[in-house]
Subunit: 146 residues, 2 copies
DNA sequence: TCTGAAATGTATACGTT
DNA sequence: AACGTATACATTTCAGA
């Protein structure tokens, strides 16, 4: 990818609502040229979307945890992501190298909600779970240095 | 927090560039009422910012990993986050319960870059590291169901 | 905290280079 | 690819309820 496109991506990753006017100033292009480039980056999937970054404590989801999962039956088909997608408390699902097969990041309101979620995960995907509770988050969602 | 504010937060978490006009339609408020609420949510820190979601494969950062760290000297002051913040490849830093003290999520271009980053982490924070490489990401950055 | 209207600023389509 | 212009649309501010 080319220099100006990288710059546009970096600027929007850091401020997803930056106006085309400001992007034009930062890149030295005209507003319409920037506009074209952003639309092309969206269409090509380089920019997959935009999100507001939310303070989870403020919206009733103060408990974050990492949940590593391992199949109970290693011979069974591995469709865990499809079986877990409907659980909205799971923010992300990464397939990983190592002893376990996936690492999930989950957000819930309370330890009780976490307990219930773990039961749902185990039942839905036929897996065992290992949970690491997050105590605090010094930083998160930092934009990539593209 | 109140019903309409929750809805606004959920809508912006799912589409960070949604216009005030559309937010007004979705919530049944006037444009200026929505506008006021969004500004208030931003000011109160419920909405911490906005980000474009980037395809990391497309911007030259195809390798993601989780790095768990543990202090070499357990008696030393624990200022690892401050010592690691300057490393842009670290997207997030969570203090966790369990055997290790922090879990970092990192993005790099290649195994060689990962090796170098791990050396920087160990040197900067005087920690040992345990790295779990991400093979694929079935889903990520899902908006919270506020 | 809301509304509606006015003023300003931005997004987008289109024609041109 | 990029630019400039014209128009449509969105944001922002403000007075008043």
């Amino acid at each position: 990818m080319e220099e100006i496109d990288r710059r546009i991506v970096a600027l929007l990753a850091a401020d997803g609502r930056m106006s085309f006017t400001d992007l034009a100033k930062e890149t030295g292009l005209s507003v319409s040229a920037v506009h074209q480039r952003v639309r092309r980056l969206e269409k090509r999937g380089v920019i997959k979307g935009y999100a507001a970054l939310v303070d989870f404590d403020e919206v009733g989801l103060p408990l974050t945890a990492f949940v590593s999962i391992k199949p109970i039956d290693p011979a069974a088909a591995d469709d865990a992501p499809d079986r877990l997608r409907h659980l909205a408390a799971i923010e992300s699902c990464h397939s990983v190298a190592g002893d376990e097969s996936y690492i999930l990041k989950v957000r819930v309101g309370s330890p009780r909600d976490l307990e219930e979620l773990l039961n749902q995960i185990r039942a839905a995907a036929n897996v065992s779970t290992r949970t690491t509770v997050v105590l605090s988050t010094p930083f998160d969602y930092r934009p990539p240095a593209v």
